[in-house]
C-alpha cells in the first residue's frame, strides 16, 4: 500500500512536526453510531487510529443465556437493527439445526423474500451514508426514499418498520397478506431503473472516485487473515458468498451472481483504483442490490406457484408444528448466514434444557474494526471517514 507519507515533502530544517491525539467520536455523525476513535495524527496524516468500542453494549449474549430459545428472537432484531430480518434468519437457522426442525417450503420462501428485501434496504443506507460522508447529500435521500418502500412492505407483512421479529423458530409469524406478492414484484420493477439512476448519479462521479480509489486497500490474503466477511471480503476479490458456497434455506434453487471487486482491471468497474480499495467495497454493494432484486423476482414467481397448492398441504404452511416448550438436545452448533454486513454466526451450546448455556454472536462489523488500525495507517484524516463508511460499520452489531 503506498503511504501518503511517501508523497509528502521532507520537513524543512528547523521546522518540527509534533504528534497530536485526536479523539474522534463517540458522538460524531460520520462514525455511524457511538464509535470513538483514538487518532494519533502527525499533521493531517494518521499515525494510528484505534477504535474504542463498548458504548452500546447491552449484554445481549448474557440475556440469551437466561431466557428460553423463543423469547430470544426479539433480541436478535436489536443486534443489528438495519437488517433485523437477516439477524432473525441467522438465529432461527442455528436453533433449527440444533433442534432438528424442518421448515415448510412456504416459510422458506417468505424468509428469503424478507431477507433479500432487508438486504436492499440495508445497502441503501450504507451506500447513501458513504456518499454523504464524502460530501454528496442527494444519494442519501434517494436511498432513504427507496428504503421507505421496503419498510412499507414489511409493515404490511408484520406490522413493524425497524425491528420486525418476523421470523420465528420453525417458520415465519404471518403468511403473506393478500396482494403482497404483487407489491413485491412492483417494487422490484420500480427499483431496478432507480438503481441504474443511482449508479449513474454517484458511482461514475470522478470526485467521488478520487475520494475512494486507492484508499484503505486490503489485499486478498490480508482480508482472509483478518477475518473480513461479506462485501468487505468480496471487495478484495475473494469470491465467497455463503448463499452460493454453503447454501442454506432455498438459495441453491435461485439464480444470482456473486459480484467481486475488480480494482485496477481496465475492463472492470474500478479501472482507476486498486484491488480491495474503498471503491471496490462500494461497487460490490451496488451490484449486490441488483442481484437481490433478481432474487426477489424469482421468489415472487415461486410464491405464486406455491399459492396454487391446496391449503392443507404441508408445503403451503408458514409455520412448522412445534411443542409449546421447545427443548433441544445436548450439543453445540455454529451456524452462519450471509447478512448485508457479512456473515453472522451463532454459536450456541445447549445442555438439554430450554435455555442455552452459551450464546455467542459473531458479526461482520466487529472483525472490520479489528483491522481498522492497520488499514488506516498513513491515510489522511478525511480518508478515515471513507474507510468507516466503506466497511459499513454498524455499532450495535459491534458491541452487542
Amino acid at each position: 500500500m503506498p503511504l501518503v507519507t511517501d508523497n509528502l515533502a521532507e520537513p524543512k530544517e528547523g521546522i518540527d512536526s509534533e504528534q497530536m491525539v485526536l479523539s474522534m467520536g463517540p458522538h460524531h455523525p460520520s462514525t455511524h453510531g457511538v464509535l470513538r476513535l483514538e487518532v494519533v495524527t502527525d499533521g493531517e496524516v494518521v499515525v494510528s487510529a484505534r477504535p474504542d468500542i463498548g458504548y452500546l453494549h447491552r449484554a445481549i449474549e448474557k440475556i440469551g443465556e437466561n431466557i428460553d430459545y423463543r423469547q430470544f428472537m426479539p433480541y436478535t432484531d436489536r443486534v443489528d437493527y438495519l437488517c433485523a430480518m437477516n439477524s432473525n434468519f441467522a438465529y432461527a437457522l442455528a436453533v433449527e439445526k440444533l433442534a432438528g426442525i424442518k421448515v415448510p417450503l412456504r416459510a422458506e420462501l417468505m424468509r428469503v423474500m424478507a431477507a433479500e428485501l432487508n438486504r436492499i434496504s440495508s445497502h441503501m443506507i450504507c451506500l447513501g451514508a458513504l456518499a454523504m460522508d464524502m460530501g454528496a447529500f442527494t444519494p442519501f435521500l434517494h436511498g432513504i426514499c427507496h428504503r421507505e418502500k421496503v419498510n412499507d412492505l414489511f409493515e404490511e407483512v408484520c406490522g413493524a418498520r425497524l425491528t420486525y421479529n418476523y421470523l420465528t423458530i420453525g417458520g415465519v409469524s404471518y403468511d403473506a397478506p393478500p396482494g403482497f406478492i404483487d407489491k413485491c414484484e412492483q417494487f422490484a420493477d420500480y427499483l431496478w431503473p432507480k438503481m441504474v439512476e443511482f449508479n449513474e448519479l454517484i458511482s461514475g462521479n470522478s470526485i467521488f472516485q478520487d475520494r475512494l480509489c486507492h484508499v484503505g486497500v486490503v489485499s486478498r490474503e490480508q482480508a482472509i487473515n483478518w477475518g473480513l466477511v461479506g462485501p468487505n471480503l468480496r471487495g478484495s476479490g475473494v469470491k465467497w458468498d455463503l448463499r452460493k458456497d454453503e447454501p442454506y434455506s432455498i438459495y441453491d434453487r435461485l439464480k444470482f451472481d456473486v459480484p467481486v471487486g475488480d480494482g485496477g482491471d481496465p475492463r472492470g468497474s474500478n479501472p482507476n483504483g486498486a484491488l480491495g480499495d474503498s471503491y471496490d467495497r462500494f461497487i460490490v454493494r451496488v451490484k449486490e442490490v441488483f442481484e437481490s432484486i433478481k432474487i426477489v423476482k424469482q421468489v415472487c414467481a415461486m410464491l405464486r406457484e406455491n399459492d396454487k397448492l391446496p391449503k392443507d398441504n404441508s408445503d403451503r404452511q408458514h409455520q412448522a408444528k412445534l411443542p409449546i416448550r421447545l427443548k433441544v438436545k445436548k450439543g453445540e452448533v455454529y451456524v452462519r448466514s450471509e447478512n448485508p454486513r457479512g456473515e453472522t454466526g451463532y454459536y450456541i451450546v445447549s445442555d438439554g434444557t430450554d435455555k442455552p448455556v452459551r450464546m455467542k454472536i459473531r458479526t461482520g462489523s466487529f472483525s472490520a474494526l479489528n483491522c481498522f488500525e492497520e488499514v488506516t495507517r498513513g491515510l489522511l484524516i478525511g480518508d478515515v471517514i471513507a474507510v468507516i463508511g466503506s466497511f459499513d460499520i454498524v455499532i450495535p452489531e459491534v458491541d452487542r
Binding site: 468500542i53 439445526k97 487473515n225 477475518g227 458456497d245 453445540e332 452448533v333 455467542k360 472483525s367 483491522c371
Partner: protein, 184 residues
Amino acid sequence: MDFDAIYHRTKTRFPALEAPPLEAGERICVLPSAEAHAVLKFLKEDPELHFDSLMTLAGADTGKEFWVVYPLHSMTHRHRFLCKVVLPRDNPECDSVVDLWAGANFFEREAFDLYGIKFRNHPDLRRIINPPDWEGWPGRKDYQFPREYHGIETEREDQFFQEQINRETKARELAARRVSEGKV
C-alpha cells in the same frame, strides 16, 4: 474433507485429541490445552487442511469449566472444522493465536473481557467492551452485578414490581453461589 477425515489426519500427528460422541448439532474436537497452539498451527499450515480463516473465537463458561472454541474454515479447500480447548476454573490461561490469524485479536480481547481467560503472547490484552476499570468477569456464571459504579447506583426501587425483582435477585444470587461452590 469431512470431520472424520480431518480429525484422523490430525490425530496421527497429535494422539491426545478427542472427539466426544454427538447428541445434536455439530461434531467438535477437544484439543489438549498444553499443545493447543501446536495443533492449530498444524491445522493452518498443513497443505491438505490449510485452515486459513478463523470464523470466530468464543469463550464460554459451562459452570464447571471454561472453553475456548475455534471454528475454523478453509477458503481453498472449502471445508470446516470445530475445535475447542477446555480450561480449568481457577486461573484459565491458554496460548494466543493472533500470530496464526490476525482476526483473533479482538475475539481474544472479548473472551478476556467477559471470562477473564488470559491469552499468553497476545499483543494487546485489554478490556474491549467494558470500561478499563471494570471489576469482575461479567460473562461468568457466578458473576455478581456490582451495586454501584463510580458513585452511580445500579439498583432503584421499582414502584410496582419491587417484590418480583427481589425474588429474582435472590434466585440469581443463589444460582451463582451454587456455581461458585461447585454444586452444579
